[in-house]
Symmetry: none
Subunit: 204 residues, 4 copies
């Protein structure tokens, strides 16, 4: 029995070690940025020798790419959840606002996302990953909003796109707000958001 699952265990172990590196790296990137975090530091945080990280990742770049890919994966899963729900979309969004805002304002995650966006300015692979993820997400959201559960099926394409961009900008911008205003009041923001989203997601 122990002989049988030796290989599976090993690859499961390998997968776990890989995750260990990704977690450690994400932690370090958040605190000191991609360039500020050294492989030695990441290795330390992952309780692993610097050399051994290269068994799991080809380069430092490959690490941030994996982090981005993982994050994108999570985003897709979140979107699928939204698609699988039933009922009017606007209500679902408004009802979930607390959770959404909490996730967005979680500084840990936000800092990492901003780091990835800043890195996208320099690393074309990261930029491509983020952009294609963004395009896919936009497509998914568009389908939801113009589908039976959305209220914008009559909306002109450009108008729809403009609204989507503004809504998207709000949530992206909250990442920056959380960073620049540590005293930001969640409840107040949620209240204002409710008002604004209701307008942005309803027919003119």
């Amino acid at each position: 029995m122990s002989g049988n699952n030796k290989r599976p265990t090993d690859s499961r172990l390998a997968e776990a070690r890989r995750e260990q590196v990704l977690d450690a790296a994400a932690h370090c990137f958040r605190r000191h940025g991609y360039h500020g975090a050294s492989m030695a530091e990441i290795a330390g945080a992952a309780a692993m020798s610097p050399g051994h990280i290269y068994h799991y990742f080809e380069s430092k770049d490959a690490i941030i790419e994996a982090i981005v890919a993982k994050d994108v994966e999570e985003l897709f899963s979140t979107m699928r959840d939204l698609q699988d729900e039933s009922g009017e979309l606007l209500d679902a969004i408004i009802d979930g606002l607390h959770t959404t805002v909490d996730q967005t304002l979680d500084t840990e995650r936000g800092a990492l996302l901003l780091e990835m966006i800043a890195e996208a300015a320099r690393n074309p692979k990261v930029a491509a990953l983020l952009r294609s993820a963004d395009a896919l997400t936009r497509q998914g959201v568009r389908e939801l909003l113009t589908g039976p559960r959305g209220m914008l099926s009559q909306c002109a394409t450009d108008e729809l796109d403009g609204r989507m961009e503004v809504i998207n900008a709000i949530f992206s911008g909250l990442l920056i707000r959380a960073l620049l205003n540590p005293a930001l009041k969640r409840e107040a923001v949620i209240a204002a958001l409710r008002q604004v989203l209701r307008v942005a997601l309803s027919p003119t």
Copy 2:
């Protein structure tokens, strides 16, 4: 005579040289990021030797701090302009939307701002500068909105803060949108913004 105006001339020249360095550095930071841009590259762009930059700035960090400070200064000046205008605030904002959005979506400027925000994650001085600038701006905007030209004098503090954060988030977020969606349609965004801002800046 030449002795008399030597100092003023010199210090004016010195100021110009300083600006030269800041412009060059901003240019380099935009293109390759703070860590990607080397002092040698900045020196080249400023038509100056690497060593001489240290006559004007104590360190590379001091350069980004100066850039941030300058940017903050510009922000204040923009805000003062808004304060000096007359007429209803909402109209002024809506009328200026084209310009504001164009400035925001100008990727050059946006990339630098995101770079500064990312740098804030590892440079506490930059973080402090950005945060205090943000606090001052918020105070200025609050005064405008609750003043005679604003429509929110009746608005509760928390509600006002929430709205301000959301509006702020929109414009900050547009920086990220421009980066992630190169095909973003300005006009459509402006139309959506008009709608949303009208709600966010009017009494309930």
Copy 3:
């Protein structure tokens, strides 16, 4: 029974595995040089794990030493063949010239030999092996040339040594020629060699 032939079988297997490593290493050294070839690469070529190579060889250095020793062994065997033949030596050499030149110009083998010579510059053990092999070979050749089948029994020691060095230099040098002039014409070289060797191996 299985217990009885276990050792012999095992040691024969072990010997085969050792050879496997040597062949793989020789192949890798030829293609990427001693320093360019990693133990991982050699292990891959030998269809063996990197760690297991250390059951057969103490270190990477020990591998090239074994290759050198093996090559030296082959050289001795070739010389013994020459000694065992009958008839006039000069004729035997001239007749075998085609084969000898083909072997010498075989770039694969030559590259490895040059690699070993270059390695001799930094590995004293390799240098010692090559030098003592060289000394033994010279002694063997001297005996042949001054023996009944050779034509140089009347030749003074120094003259003999000089001629031997020049002949030796020609064949060693052909390794380099093959590398530097890929368009080298074998037949033309053999013709010139025939002429030159006839002089160098005949009494004045």
Copy 4:
């Protein structure tokens, strides 16, 4: 005056520093081989910090390329000298044999040449440099041998090429001989060479 030659002096200094690095590197490469010599060691030998070497050379590879190029240059200059002389070529060669052999057997220089040849097996740039230099040299020698001072103007192309390759091989091979037989007798080699070259450079 001192102001005038400031730049020239500087660039002369730079040139001197460059040479310093080349000399130091050649020294280290000879002793420990290209891969055995570290940049730190070379820097130490050049009395310079490791980082500063990169002001003069783009990479370690660029250093050996420069050494090869310099060596090739010297070879050309030697050949031009031979072309500029007058009198019968065979006599000139035989007369200069002492110097030529001394230069060839100088282990320092030879070890470096072998190192470059071994490196050519891996580094295409080095291989190309050496090969094109070799081709040019062969062309120059061919012209000499078939010109008025040479005795091989009647010789068929292939025969001429074969002889040239064998002569070339002798001198290249002597590099290896010097390495493998430290007790090699120069005078005896020269005597044998005289005999062999006379045959190889005369009409059949």
